[in-house]
Amino acid sequence: MFAFIIRRILQAIVVMMVISLVGFSIKSKIGDPVRDLVGERVTPEERAQIADKMGLNDPFLIQYTRFVKQALKGDLGRSFIYNKPALEVIVRHAPATIELLIGTALIIIFVSLPLGIQSALQPRSILSRFTMSFSTLGVSMPVFLTAILLIYLFAVNLQILPSYGRGETVDLFGNGYWKTGFLTHDGRLHLILPCLSLSSIMLPLFIRLIRSEMMEVLETEYIKYAWAKGLSPARIWMVHAFKNTLLPVITVFGVQMGITFAFTILTELVFQWQGMGFIFLEAVERSDISLLIAYLVVVAGVFVLVNTVVDIIYGFINPTIRIAGTR
């Protein structure tokens, strides 16, 4: 077990090294740290002087080592469009994205569980047929189109929900870092449409997954035994069958929230949501390389960290993984 953990952590470090190397190569190839620091109004002589002082003429490896050292201290360069440290820009915009994900997760949990269970218990009922055909359609629908349709319906035609922005927010810890929309009525209204469109990608998948897992469990011997024993249907479905449906569903849930993160970029663009995806697109549009690379390093870091932790937890639960070493 110890060897497995070490191996897994080593792999995570190697991946982060490769990603930071890629990021740094891009940055040193097309980035312009002098402009990031002092803007564009300096003479070429001054630029050369500053570049020399910043060590931009040093060999690649020395510069890379410096980049990694600074990154470990939390310095990922300066964003020139915000004129702030890039990491700070990302951290300030992260809560908006995280709240989007939380809202989406809530919708997925509260909608897919009842619908999935219902269509597993009564696969021939009208509601389950409707759910299943709707979920086939949902898979084929791009998230930005769902978002646009929702805006057209609820914001332009019915005019009952706001179409863009976060609305009124409250400062959660009093230091300006985490502004939440969950605590005000206006903020919650603004959350509805973005979260609905984000959850539309994952809902079909979860309903199908819960349905097929539940149907499989209902066929097993111990459920038949529970029926023979004369337990009440509610107890068999909810306690015996549902509990064993949940484990694979939770596993997939983790992975899918990662994928949903990629889709937040699209949703944030449609709803002008000031989150991480929005500033990423802004960085691309105005070629803010430092911010772009900082985004790459932070997002990759979060993914690698989460995957490593999840793998190690699996190692504890399922010994075959850690013995084989490979999945």
């Binding site: 792999q11 097309i30 084929s140 349709l149 097929s212 994928i259 990629a262 697109l281 490979t326």
Partner: protein, 306 residues
Amino acid sequence: MKTKLQKFKESYFLYAFRRDKVAMASFIALVIFVLLAITAPWISPMNPYDSHNIDLMNSEIPPMWMEGGSPEFILGTDNMGRDMLSTMFYGLRTSIIIGIGAVSLQAFIGIVLGLSAGYLGGKIDAILMRIADIQFSFPYLMVAIFIGAVFQLIFGVGSYERLAIPLLTLIIGLSNWPMFARTIRASVMGEKNKEYVEAARVIGLPRFTIMFRHVLPNSLTSVMVIFTIQVASAIQSEAALSFLGLGMPVTRPSLGSLIRAGQEFIFSGSWWITIFPGLWLVIFVLVINLLGDWLRDVLNPKLYKG
């Protein structure tokens, strides 16, 4: 000796196809879509790439059944005065070219790496599959968006837009190959211990020949199954990239960039600029997905769940 055609006529594949109405309907729809895309330059009412045909006076004309519509533009015009129907045909064409090109690239990378990993085994297998695992741990759309962003910065917006089709093919191809590598590796692992491979080895055929001439053809069924579904997801990725502004430019639109271009006009009530290309894309992807699901059930019911 039966000819191939006769064999096909008596196969279970055709039998299953004829019995499934959904599969038949989606196959017919797919054929129509592909025909429309191929013949787009001849059947479109106008050429949306040619700026001579475009008249700004014609912008934002509603579909012909609505008030203010004209029979010249059946589905109306967009904000630049282009006929919606024509841009949708041309957009479909671009989306299909990129979708098939990108998945072919994915399949090529995936087959070469997956076949080597599965047949050669040992260290090569461990290294290749570890790389695939690591790329798999990041969402492929995220990978595609990032490669796209970096390409756009390296090439500059102008040349990126000129090279958009090959670049998008490359981006989507690179972002989603591990799926193919894993699938082909799994079926190669099953094939390589069979007797015909043993026999080929005994008569002294070179390893390369055995891999590509004997093992590969027998492992291709699994590739066919995921190929269709991957095309659907590649077309969706292309639409997503174009929607973000990292794809086809508005002057040579794909379905994604049409939706992007029409997005802001939804507030002024010109819904058709966005909704028509959007529905067009949804129906097209839906048809491919339905066909892909059916193919999976028929060819390989136990391949994967969900």
